[in-house]
């Protein structure tokens, strides 16, 4: 049971093997380094599929648990405690899928310091998977902060012109929230005598007024990461300056660490406070949805537009999670994946045109459909997925979220969902405007007339995302089946707690 070679450990730490090999390779062997990184991440993905095969989808509890004492400090035991359940399995798979895709996207985009880049990238994967697996608060915190470091370097070294500013801002912002969370973690451990999340949940019994403070402290870390309005100010900088692969991971996975944090820690650890805060969180989420959509519309830089669209999309996720009913939470969880796929793919698409034109200003484009029909068609599908067209993945998530939020007792009023649904119109407004400015209208810029359409490598980069966009849109049952038992358990727990509080 407690084997160090358990599949979860393999998934989490196999990239270290790749890093070791890359560090031993001479830095001039760029191609070899790239292939090593790609193959490492593909093997990691394969391992995560093995994990999926071993996953028992009828079991709502943590599975494949590895648990051992790690650090003994006085009477406390910090444990190495990892496990997986329906709340995290899709996010782990998303991480292991997006990593090789991102690495493939750097093939021609990253030419300098490839060795360091790949090492940091694989290191980042270790941190992200660790975040989703950790079941000990201290261990979680270590992984959580650990992801900051490689991302900081990815932006700071391989980023755009204002990369240092963006990297530092990203770092400080996230740190600021994390410190509050750390305080709360330490307080919890002091009072309850354990860092173990399942034990803390089982024990329960934290008085409501304390719960309130702890909830807010955790929320500070997670809300900045999501980012919830109005804490999003670091996001456009980080996204615009980050290299394409960094943006894909940032939007695809790192933001999900925030929403996941709410789901894994805030809701089950502080259920009464959760119920109390649900309308407030929903309110901020709705503002974020509408505000993000409006601000996206006014952008002149396509990457910035996509960055702000995340504020809007993640608002939907938060609204769903805090509906605290099965529809809302399952929709929210699925929408985390959907956003990772769609927005990840959008950032890849932006990167592809940036590599060709070295600009992301809408004014430089127009009529590209004519010269790059494959690129246009694929971008169109991604755009439609992002705006929630039925039959594609985004709709399944958005619809279930809004449906859940509309009838949510915790949120307490259908107005939240009703207003949020306006975001569906606004999404069409800014996304179609984006598509129009890039691909429609006359092809009147000289520089655009000889652009090359996508090559096979670029199509292969996007293909897995497109397949999943259709798959989840048309037949989401396998995905829902993975998450629904765990979500059901969580919802039941919150409801009992809420009832007990009354």
């Amino acid at each position: 049971m407690n084997s160090w070679f358990s599949i979860l450990n393999m998934v989490a730490f196999f990239p270290l093997v790749g890093i070791l090999v890359i560090l031993l390779l001479p830095r001039e062997r760029i191609s070899l380094i790239r292939w090593t990184a790609l193959i490492t991440s593909l093997i990691t993905f394969g391992l995560s599929l093995v994990m999926l095969a071993q996953f028992d989808r009828s079991n709502p509890d943590l599975q494949m648990v590895v648990r051992a004492p790690w650090i003994q400090v006085g009477t406390w035991t910090i444990e190495y405690h990892i496990g997986i359940d329906g709340l995290s399995i899709l996010l782990v798979l998303l991480t292991t899928l997006l990593t090789p895709i991102s690495i493939l996207s750097t093939w021609t985009a990253i030419e300098e310091r490839v060795k360091e880049f790949m090492a940091f990238f694989l290191l980042l994967e270790v941190g992200m998977v660790g975040v989703f697996l950790a079941q000990d608060l201290f261990l979680f915190y270590v992984f959580w902060e650990f992801t900051l470091v490689p991302m900081y370097f990815l932006i700071g070294i391989w980023g755009g012109p204002r990369r240092m500013y963006a990297a530092i801002k990203f770092f400080l912002y996230t740190m600021a929230g994390s410190i509050l969370m750390l305080l709360a973690i330490v307080w919890l451990a002091l009072q309850m005598g354990t860092f173990s999340v399942p034990d803390l949940i089982a024990r329960g019994g934290i008085p409501l007024n304390i719960q309130t403070w702890l909830f807010l402290a955790f929320a500070a870390a997670f809300a900045i990461k999501v980012p919830m309005w109005p804490l999003h100010s670091w996001l456009p900088d980080a996204h615009v300056e980050a290299p394409t692969a960094g943006s894909v991971i940032l939007a695809g996975v790192l933001l999900k660490m925030g929403t996941y944090g709410f789901l894994r820690f805030n809701i089950p650890l502080f259920p009464e406070a959760t119920v109390r805060f649900a309308p407030w969180i929903a309110g901020l989420a709705v503002i974020g949805i509408l505000y993000g959509a409006a601000v996206s519309y006014a952008q002149r830089d396509v990457k910035k537009l996509v960055a702000y669209s995340s504020v809007s999309h993640l608002g939907f996720v938060m609204l769903g999670l805090f509906a605290l009913n099965p529809q809302g939470i399952q929709g929210g969880l699925l929408q985390m994946i959907n956003h990772g796929l769609s927005t990840g793919a959008l950032f890849l698409a932006v990167g592809m045109i940036y590599e060709r034109r070295h600009t992301r200003e809408f004014d430089a484009f127009g009529g590209l459909w004519k010269v790059m029909p494959v690129y246009a068609a694929l971008t169109l599908i991604i755009t439609l997925s992002s705006m929630g067209l039925p039959g594609l993945n985004g709709f399944v998530g958005e619809f279930t979220i809004l449906l859940g939020a509309f009838g949510s007792q915790a949120i307490g009023s259908p107005w939240f969902a009703g207003l949020a649904a306006i975001g569906v119109i606004l999404a069409a407004v800014y996304l179609l405007y984006m598509f129009q400015r890039m691909f429609m209208g006359p092809l009147d810029k000289e520089e655009n007339k000889r652009l090359k359409d996508l090559g096979w490598r670029e199509v292969v980069t996007l293909a897995p995302l497109l397949i999943l966009i259709f798959w989840i849109g048309l037949y989401p049952a396998p995905f829902f089946n993975l998450i629904s038992p765990s979500v059901g358990k969580l919802v039941a727990a919150v409801q009992t707690a809420a009832l007990a509080a009354h």
Partner: protein, 693 residues
């Protein structure tokens, strides 16, 4: 005996999913092979796929003859989440089968026509490579439309609903680099999608409310519990149906959301015929008929439906009277006729609404395809002239002022167009007479005001059709292009002739006293009451139509319009004509009230609030400065013996990072990283030690 069993057995229902599957198969084949194997191949695959869908629809008809109660053919699970259980399933009943037959039948004809039309169109527009793409979109549209009509729940209907909207977007923007300033078509496409999304918001809200009231989105279950709850849920049902009406107003181009449809004429003409006249725009009417159980429980909503429909019928007709673009006349006519149908279903005359829907599909598809034939005829003429270097400047092949006298040059087009126009005008015994008459008769027996409004709309309908036919086909050519126009090949004219036949005979679907369609739909619309044939109403509408045509002849027939001569109606109507011609400035009003407000608000939020205030001032100045001040204070006065040295280091790190915030580029990345890690360890150590001591 065996055949009889097969025909009447449930077996045939099992083929129903093919009605969606075949067009999808067709588009996949064309996506892979279309460009390599040429236009003929593409057209045959696309038309063949839809034609086979029509065959499947006929099989469903046969199956329904034996089992009129219909069947639900499940295909796969879709969304199953906490009480919400929606599956991919095909619902075959007499109502959906009617739509299937009409849509696939008309689609097949238009696909064939489009082979001829697009062959020319892609060359006239200078990009023959786009031929295949057109048919891929066209097949996709048929598939989406079939999902729409066969959905057995609100949600699956909505999938088709948005799917047809997407196809509409793609096809309006088919020549995305053309139109006014090279961007006109793209803007029209975007407008169509966004206005439809506004309607879709209504649909979505209706679904949320339905689900939480009736705990299901499947039609049968919702209707069952709605009837069981009855008046107890009256208020909720009223709200639900009003939201549904918003959806219908978007898709079926009713006031106040009709504005997208005239712009949608930017699409190639077969698109206007198929999507924006015959099929997609009728989805709103179909949806109301499908959910009629709810509307019957909500008399307030039904009344509002009637008002919206009648107002739209009248309002759009006034605009149609004063248009010069041949397709714009037809577009406003379509909006007006959709208003007739909406009014009918609001009155509870569901059969009349469906009857007019089908009949209108025949003659409006005919008219649009006929106008396409005219436009291409004129374009040929224009090219023939331009080829000799005589034409110069901008020439609009859709402007009726550039036409005239085409009767002799395009004989087939003329005759079929005349039939379509007369059918639309409501001249007996053509299809439009019977279908429109049923609506008028129903309104005469329920609400005399509505009757008067609709009759006035009918008068204008006959007038603008008379005006159009006279301006286009009679008199003498008003341009060189019109003088050199010539008839199109049989691939285009044969489908026109078939549609003309249907426009003549379509009335037979539901002749007074026989009520074929009424009896057929009875299985779905148990409560639908047929209004008895009213000879007085019929005579009156015929008289109205003849009067209007006579009036048109007086103005445009007796003395045909000459080149550069203003419209005689402009003189007679004065300022009213200007209003009609400018579409009562509704687009300008919306632009002022909604579009510009939003653009301004978005810009204000993005530039002033989010960037200048929140990002630049609050974060980069206020927070950064106070952070710097705070860390200085820490470094100078905050001291702990245990971690003395480390604390200084921490402060040094925070100070220098804050400096970095100000000076942006210092480049000492590694150093920062080390400080950061060190700071982290120090802080954690600090807290741990604190808690231990």
């Amino acid at each position: 005996m065996l055949l009889r069993e097969v025909v009447q057995g449930w077996g045939l229902f099992a083929y129903a999913p093919l009605i969606v599957g075949l067009p999808i198969l067709g588009l996949l084949i064309n996506m892979v092979l279309g460009r390599r194997l040429g236009e003929r191949f593409t057209a045959i695959v696309a038309s063949g796929a839809v034609g086979l869908s029509f065959v499947v629809a006929c099989l469903q008809l046969a199956a329904l003859l034996g089992h009129p109660e219909g069947a639900r053919v499940p295909v796969a699970d879709w969304i199953t989440v906490g009480g919400l259980d929606v599956a991919w399933a095909i619902k075959v009943d007499t109502l959906s089968a009617t739509m299937m037959l009409m849509v696939t039948g008309v689609s097949t004809l238009i696909h064939i026509y489009a082979y001829g039309y697009m062959h020319e169109d892609v060359r006239l527009n200078g990009d023959p490579g786009r031929f295949t793409r057109f048919f891929v979109y066209f097949n996709l549209f048929v598939a989406a439309m079939m999902i729409l009509v066969s959905g057995d729940s609100f949600l699956t209907l909505f999938v088709g609903w948005e799917g047809v909207g997407l196809c509409s977007y793609l096809l309006i923007g088919f020549w995305f680099e053309k139109g006014k300033d090279g961007i006109g078509n793209a803007l029209a496409a975007k407008k169509a999608f966004i206005v439809n999304r506004i309607g879709d918001l209504g649909f979505l809200l209706a679904m949320f409310l339905t689900f939480w009231t009736f705990k299901s989105l499947q039609f049968d279950r919702v209707f069952e519990s709605a009837q069981a709850l009855g008046a107890a849920a009256g208020g909720t049902i009223t709200v639900i149906t009003l939201f549904l009406l918003v959806g219908a107003a978007g898709k079926s181009a009713q006031i106040p959301l009709y504005v997208w449809l005239p712009d949608a004429m930017a699409g190639p003409t077969p698109v206007s015929a198929l999507i924006h006249a015959a099929t997609m725009v009728t989805a709103g009417i179909y949806m109301i008929v499908r959910t009629h159980v709810l509307f019957q429980l909500a008399p307030i909503s039904s009344n509002i439906v009637v008002i919206i429909g009648a107002a739209t019928a009248f309002f759009a007709a006034t605009i149609a009277v004063a248009q010069f673009d041949i397709k714009k006349v037809l577009a406003y006519s379509t909006i007006s006729q959709l208003g007739f149908m909406i009014a009918a279903v609001g009155m509870g005359a569901y059969v009349a609404g469906m009857f007019h829907l089908v009949a209108h599909a025949f003659f409006k598809a005919l008219l649009f395809l006929g106008s396409g034939s005219v436009i291409q005829g004129i374009e040929h003429g224009h090219h023939a002239v331009a080829g000799h270097g005589e034409a110069s400047g901008h020439f609009d092949p859709q402007d009726m002022r550039n036409m005239g006298g085409l009767r002799g040059r395009m004989r087939v087009t003329f005759w079929v167009y005349l039939i379509g126009a007369l059918a639309l005008a409501g001249i007996p015994p053509l299809a439009g007479f019977f279908s429109k008459d049923e609506i008028l008769a129903s309104s005469a027996s329920t609400n005399i005001v509505v009757y008067v409004v609709l009759a006035a709309a009918a008068l204008m309908t006959a007038f603008y059709m008379g005006r159009q036919v006279l301006m286009v086909f009679f008199g003498s050519p008003r341009s060189e292009a019109a003088a050199h126009a010539h008839e199109n090949p049989p691939i285009m004219t044969v489908p026109l002739m078939v549609l003309a036949g249907l426009s003549i005979l379509g009335g037979a679907l539901n002749l007074p006293g026989v009520d074929t369609l009424g009896r057929w739909l009875e299985h779905v619309l148990e409560s639908a009451h047929a209004v008895p044939f009213n000879p007085l109403v019929a005579a009156l509408s015929t008289a109205i139509a003849l009067l209007a045509i006579g009036l048109a002849w007086l103005l445009y027939g007796r003395k045909p319009l000459l080149e550069n001569q203003p419209d005689p109606l402009a003189r007679d109507l004065g300022p009213a004509f200007v209003g009609m011609q400018h579409k009562w400035w509704v687009d300008e009003l919306y632009d002022f009230l909604v579009v510009r407000r939003y653009v301004w608000l978005a810009g204000f939020l993005a530039n002033t609030i989010d960037w200048s205030f929140w990002h630049n001032w609050f974060h980069d100045r206020v927070i950064a400065q106070s952070f710097r001040a705070g860390t200085r204070w820490m470094a100078e006065s905050f001291d702990l013996p245990v971690i003395d040295g480390a604390s200084a280091r921490l402060a040094e790190w925070t100070r220098s990072t804050a400096e970095g915030l100000r000076r942006l580029q210092t480049g000492r990345v590694r150093n920062y990283g080390i400080y950061i890690l060190a700071g982290l360890v120090v802080m954690m150590g600090y807290f741990l030690l604190r808690s231990l001591s």
